[in-house]
């Protein structure tokens, strides 16, 4: 019952079980700065977070289940829907895993084109990251600048494969198409301008007072914490672990190109921001080298393995046996050997791994997608307590999580 002499709020139908200041704030799943369908249950003491409980699954489509009911080639466009900001890197991870499983050797031109796609995707992803994070912090100009450059890259990808977001531009055994005529010239034009663009972003942000206040010493991840939580990519390198799968376990042509792996030991938001900027420069460096490699390659684009990979179109149209083979591969699907494989690649978000268990059938027996963002979301449980509400936005921003791959 209400006591008239005490100044306490009185609500007719609500009884408070707890008599403390704790407030539980439901952040998301439709919050614009939650970068997708993230729901956070935040326990607050005033503005400070005491407990954070990320809740995911709002974008769960059951990709692993779908993979078990699809032939291998059929699954390729589904991988696009994981990290839809850089979908070619998902395509590539899957293609590489299947290639390792069946032991394929991919022609050099296909490798070069794949490298171009991968690094272009990395640039797209990093630009998108910069744009959205800056927007979350309130830097509208950076958002517009970065989207302008990303638009150019999307057009470039569109020239290559016809799609802007969900590329499906890589096939098991190679790539489907050769580069269009203007591709290299356009890419070079973009790369020549990129240092200027990055300088523009940095001029706006690096010493910006608001940016520094929101970024410096916020969201500090220690080295032990990053390793324990299975962090990878920039999240790991910002915490002082020098580990880039492109460098340590080189795949494709990464052992033939020169590039640096930027590392920081600060572990805060600002360190991650600096690493993203540095990685963009490294990607540009790789792209310049890959452009030069393209000239000396032969015309083959797909591996020659009639049992697994369809013959080139010209053979299918002219040779009966290739047509039969193609028909079987399209209708029944390839049947990789019995065995299992785990292949990790360095996607723009971190370690993207595909575990495939094949029982010799046309459908994978089990396919596990190891998406980096899953753990980068999990770490919020330990990372957020102690921070304040506005920090949540900047921390989610710099973890660079994409819910397509968190929920899969």
């Amino acid at each position: 019952m209400q006591q008239a002499n005490r100044l306490r709020p009185f609500f007719e139908n609500i009884t408070f079980d707890r008599d403390d200041n704790e407030l539980i704030l439901n952040f998301g799943p439709q919050h614009p700065s939650a970068h997708g369908q993230l729901r956070l249950m935040l326990h607050l003491q005033q503005e400070q977070i005491t407990k954070a409980h990320p809740d995911i699954g709002y974008l769960h489509r059951g990709m692993e289940k779908m993979a078990e009911n699809m032939i291998y080639n059929e699954f390729m466009p589904t991988t696009d829907r994981m990290d839809y900001i850089a979908s070619s890197s998902n395509n590539y991870g899957f293609a590489l895993a299947v290639e390792e499983l069946i032991g394929l050797d991919v022609p050099r031109r296909a490798k070069v084109i794949r490298m171009m796609l991968l690094e272009t995707n990395r640039l797209m992803s990093h630009l998108f990251w910069l744009a959205t994070t800056a927007l979350d912090i309130g830097a509208m100009t950076v958002f517009l600048f970065a989207f302008r450059e990303r638009e150019y890259l999307m057009d470039l990808i569109e020239d290559y494969c016809g799609a802007r977001l969900t590329h499906a531009a890589i096939r098991i055994g190679g790539v489907p198409l050769d580069l269009p005529d203007n591709f290299i010239a356009d890419l070079r034009k973009f790369l020549d301008k990129l240092p200027e663009n990055i300088k523009d972003y940095e001029d706006l942000l690096d010493t910006n007072r608001i940016w520094l206040m929101r970024m410096e010493n916020v969201g500090v991840i220690s080295k032990e914490m990053a390793l324990s939580w299975g962090c990878s990519g920039v999240m790991l390198r910002a915490s002082g672990v020098e580990w880039d799968i492109r460098k340590e376990e080189p795949y494709e042509l990464y052992d033939e190109v020169e590039f640096n792996v930027p590392v920081s030991d600060k572990g805060d938001n600002y360190a991650r921001y600096k690493l993203y900027m540095a990685e963009m420069r490294e990607s540009a460096k790789i792209l310049y080298q890959v452009i030069d490699m393209y000239e000396g390659t032969g015309p083959e684009l797909m591996a020659h393995a009639p049992q697994y990979i369809s013959a080139p179109k010209i053979d299918i149209m002219t040779q009966n046996y290739s047509l039969m083979q193609h028909f079987v591969l399209v209708t029944q699907g390839m049947r990789p050997p019995v065995g299992e494989v785990y292949v990790a690649t360095e996607s723009p978000k971190g370690e993207l791994g595909y575990y495939i268990n094949s029982q010799g059938g046309a459908y994978p027996y089990r396919l596990k997608l190891r998406a980096p963002s899953f753990w980068h979301t999990g770490i919020l449980t330990d990372l957020l307590p102690g921070h304040y509400i506005p920090d949540v936005v900047s921390i989610i921003g710099t973890t660079n999580i994409v819910f397509g791959e968190v929920d899969r």
Binding site: G57, N69, L227, S228, W229, V241, E249, Y363, G378, D382
Partner: protein, 268 residues
């Protein structure tokens, strides 16, 4: 009768399999081929029973007893420098042997090596949590529980992670159909409108490929456009799916060759 389909594995089957086809194997090599792996395996063998070990596609696979999972991973973390647990999940072998296979994908950054530790547990058996060794196991184990129903002991927060808390069934089991089971098709109807609305709304159709050719509300008919919501069935009745054992399909029970007529005139 319809052909019998096994109920312990309802996943899609290839429509044709050559019965003389023998699937090749991905090559397995002996652990002694790699000095680093051999040393690691010796260290594990010294303390725990190793059922099998080999190298496949550049990574060592170590099969252990499920009871030793915590001990082996602890040893690998503390003594063998495997500092990250990249991935952990289960594989459903219930139809074949009534067991789940659980794999732990370990990464050593100093040695640049990856090891997959595997063990098998029975369907009702539970397994020890690794979340006190690696925080990443926290969410992975929850996902494994959510998808397979493998219960993990000593886990700080053993709850579903991707599916709703009140979900029934474990989606990644082979017995679970791709488009969801009976529970799944009523879940949202019950949640949003209540059980009493089932009659009015009907089950949720979870087949994303289903097309209703008379539905002009939701399906466009390219090249044959009609006003939205128009009835285009022209009085044609529905042809529901029916099976002959329910006497739904006309079938010749007895064939009498004497009484049958051979039609010779094709134009008739």
């Amino acid at each position: 009768m319809r052909a019998y389909t096994p109920k312990d594995d309802v996943q899609k089957k290839p429509y044709y399999t050559d019965r003389y086809w023998v699937a090749p194997q991905v090559a397995k090599s002996d652990v002694s081929a790699d000095a680093v792996f051999a040393a690691d395996l010796e260290a594990i063998k010294a303390k725990f029973e190793v059922l099998d070990a080999y190298i496949q596609v550049k990574q060592m696979v170590v099969v252990i007893n499920a009871a030793n999972n915590f001990g082996v991973i602890e040893l690998m973390k503390n003594e063998l420098e495997y500092n990250q647990l990249s991935e952990l999940s289960a594989i459903d072998w219930l139809a074949q042997e009534g067991k789940f296979e659980i794999f732990y994908q370990m990464l050593s950054m100093s040695k640049r090596k990856r090891i997959r530790v595997k063990c098998k547990i029975d369907e009702k058996e539970s397994i020890q949590s690794l979340s006190s060794l690696f925080r990443s196991a926290d969410w992975s184990e929850r996902e494994m529980y959510d998808m397979f129903g493998v219960v993990v002991n000593n886990h700080p927060f053993m709850k579903r992670i991707l599916m709703p808390d009140d979900w029934e069934g474990f989606p990644l089991r082979k017995t679970y159909p791709l488009q969801g089971d009976e529970f799944a098709q009523w879940y949202e109807v019950d949640k949003i409108f209540g059980k009493e609305a089932r009659e009015i709304i009907g089950p949720e159709n979870r087949d994303s490929a289903r097309v209703d050719r008379y539905d002009t509300e939701r399906f466009s008919r390219l090249g044959h456009e009609v006003p939205r919501g128009a009835d285009i069935s022209q009085g044609e009745p529905d042809t529901p799916l029916c099976y002959q054992e329910n006497e739904g399909v006309f079938l010749i029970q007895k064939f009498d060759a004497e009484k049958s007529v051979v039609i010779s005139d094709r134009d008739r």
